[in-house]
Symmetry: C2
């Protein structure tokens, strides 16, 4: 139970505006895609690193478990609370502290929304490459603590690669300020790596220094169709090698997915016939529209000649380009199937075809009628699988999970490509990590947070 004395001490740090209690908490939803209310009695809202540090000292003293909240857009129950847990929200840590146009960095507090950062970079003539559907709601602190991925990872890397410096507060309130602004810095251990992708279990991220890029000056986008998975994987190499390694997106849709998102009631129409087994959305961001388009078209002509694709539509304008991406992004059509489960896995490309066969085979052993729709960031080894079996009772869910996760074991795949582990996947973590790895993770957790107050029970434990 959250103690009265605790509330008094944190109020003395944050002031009354810094704390939400009772209905102010429970009127909020537990996540932007969740209908249930938050189960917690208190939301603490520090404005800066110093306040965050002071309240963590109090939390640690009271051994009060806390859960960090950003934009609540996560997909793996990383920000879910129980009634005994206190929330620390970054909603008042929303300052962009600096944009260094020469050094090409942006420094921001954890609560700044991804879209705000993208726009701030844009307004200075620069570009921040991280992008995902939740851009308008998710926070950069959340992106960092979950190592968010998205569509441009093949070219720019995960969030981890976009962060130069970081400040985090440990469970005992100590501030670890590693606000590096340089591309190269080998002065001792790279401590920021501890906090990136660890879902708030080792420290709470308060600030980041982001690397900005110069804006791409050309966009070359096409939707392609292929007859076999072999063609798809050869196509990836064909295009990227003719681009000298500069491909920026390679998204693949299996036929089921394409059918669904290009047939009514979906609003997008099929730019290519719906009969092919694979559809590929490729994009190359270059520096000269006329020259790059010419080269891009040549690459696709060669792909046709080499029989790697059977059909192609090239975007001729920004509006064309948006229409092609809208097809790929219309994931919500999956709800036509009724209750669905969205999976996010990764495995080596040359294992994917066998893996999908295995998943479908396992599902067919449990259900006569089921959906198993596949699409994803293929170049990043990342597949999203959407399953629907007519119900979402705990037993159906756990059977679906087993069908999707178990076959990853033999391919050394990952139960989480870009979403993280949270509560949702913790029972399956052992499929992708060894006992020795899990022991080392727990040892780090125990070392940094001996009272287990930081997002306890998430990832493992």
């Amino acid at each position: 139970m959250v103690e009265e004395k605790f509330i008094k001490e944190v109020t003395s740090v944050l002031g009354e505006k810094g704390i939400l209690l009772g209905s102010e908490v429970t009127e909020r939803k537990a996540g932007i895609w969740i209908e249930e209310p938050i189960k917690s009695k208190v939301i603490l809202r520090p404005r800066n690193t110093e306040e965050l540090s002071k309240i963590l000292i109090v939390c640690n003293k009271f051994k009060q478990p806390i859960v960090p909240h950003g934009g609540l857009t996560g997909l793996v129950e990383s920000a879910i609370t129980n009634e005994e847990e206190v929330i620390i929200s970054s909603e008042r840590m929303i300052n962009i502290e600096e944009v260094d146009v020469t050094g090409r960095t942006l420094t921001a507090q954890a609560g700044v929304k991804l879209q705000t950062i993208q726009e701030e970079a844009e307004s200075k003539g620069m570009f921040f490459p991280l992008d995902l559907g939740a851009r308008g709601s998710c926070t950069i602190g959340g992106n960092a603590s979950t190592n968010a991925g998205g569509n441009r990872v093949i070219r720019y890397g995960m969030t981890r690669e976009l962060i130069l410096g970081l400040e985090a507060v440990l469970a005992d309130g100590k501030i670890i300020s590693s606000m590096n602004k340089m591309l190269k810095n080998n002065a001792g251990y790279d401590l920021k790596q501890l906090f990136i992708g660890s879902e708030g279990t080792l420290g709470i991220i308060s600030k980041v220094v982001l690397r900005l890029q110069e804006k791409p000056l050309s966009q070359n986008t096409a939707l392609l169709a292929a007859e076999s998975f072999q063609q798809v994987s050869e196509l990836l190499k064909h295009i990227d090698s003719m681009l000298g390694g500069n491909l920026s997106a390679f998204e693949v849709m299996w036929r089921d997915f394409y059918l669904l998102v290009t047939s009514p009631p979906a609003i997008n129409k099929p730019p290519i016939d719906q009969k092919y087994p694979y559809y590929i959305l490729v994009e190359y961001s270059g520096s000269d529209q006329a020259k790059d388009s010419e080269h891009f078209n040549l690459i696709l002509e060669k792909a046709l000649e080499k029989n790697l694709i059977t059909d192609a539509v090239i975007a001729k304008s920004e509006s064309d380009r948006r229409k092609l991406w809208a097809i790929r992004d219309d994931v919500e059509q999956q709800y036509q199937y009724g209750p669905i489960k969205i999976f996010d896995v990764s495995l080596p490309i040359n294992c994917m075809e066998g893996y999908i066969k295995d998943v479908r085979k396992k599902m067919s052993e449990h259900w006569k009628d089921f959906h198993c729709t596949v699409f994803g960031h293929l170049a990043d080894c990342n597949l999203h699988i959407i399953t629907a079996v007519g119900g979402n009772d705990p037993s159906s869910i756990s059977k679906m999970e087993e069908c999707v996760y178990e076959p990853l074991r033999s391919f050394r795949g990952s139960v989480s490509a870009e979403h993280g582990i949270g509560l949702e996947k913790k029972n399956y973590l052992g499929i992708s990590r060894t006992d020795e790895e899990l022991a080392l993770m727990k040892s780090l957790k125990n070392n940094l947070d001996p009272n287990n107050i930081l997002n306890p029970g998430k990832i493992f434990g």
Copy 2:
């Protein structure tokens, strides 16, 4: 003292060929740029991870300090031993285990030389972007444990960004096998980050999975001259923004450096007059030589128009290109100055001019005649400074160090951009890292290596 019983136990693991003793050890030099012999009585030479694990169990039992050896090309005394320390060398761990052409990964044991990896990738039509002068001697395990940098970091990142998976052995012999092959994997903590760049103090790297790239298909290289540092930093933005963020190298030489490396006895001749304060070597790796050259030339014309450069020489052939790089790479000319000290620092670009002034001013307070020559990977915020004051006695060295390192403090610069800390820089680490950061580093070290047997005394302690 290394105990007889210890030797017996490790011999039973490695066999007689697996161990070097006495003169077999001391006949070796302590580093490829060091004349002194190795000070140690034993070199252990495991052939694989299992042998490495078994000998670490023995070392840990005997509390025997060990120092990992790769190619001994490090520049910060990270592999220096004393007589009580035992060496573990990767010289028999030299297998490339797999090249996955579809997944674009290469899996290798720690002792494989960087050049061997580059050549293996090349032979499969691929490209491994890490490159540095020591390529023929340094090992991939050493590159990983020091997070090596080099000339292409602006485009491809440090070694950290090129490693997808890694296996390391902890002090107690436990094998942490995180041999991930995917670009995306968020299944729990990214444990490999602990071992990358920690100079063998947290574990010994036994294997890596490297990300391979498609080969660049065009090279566009030029040597440029600028009149002011302001022009240099605007030039970086000008070129990279007209390339849509695809610049691959931006190396800057201050006049002193250029003079030295383009005047006899140096063999390279000056392609541009020696009168300018700054010389910039730029390179853009693209996908179509004819189109890219045309665009590259246009960018340089615009730079002339905008008065960002005053002179330019463009490489017209691979042989031209090599000649330009040979100028930048002829660092050995610095030995003309007599005893020199080579520094490797980083700081934000907009602080560099003031910083170099500060360093020269401080040096002029100590010495009437001195050299302070500057060049470096400017786009990575990385400067190399070569100082010469006529002597290399301990007092001169420590005064030079103070002159170069102390001014970094106010600019939040780093005492090590890409070389690491080792023994050489450990007294200066506090300039770049806070007390809280140092305490956290030590806590990690103590947690992973409680007997302090792994490369003890390096980095800190």
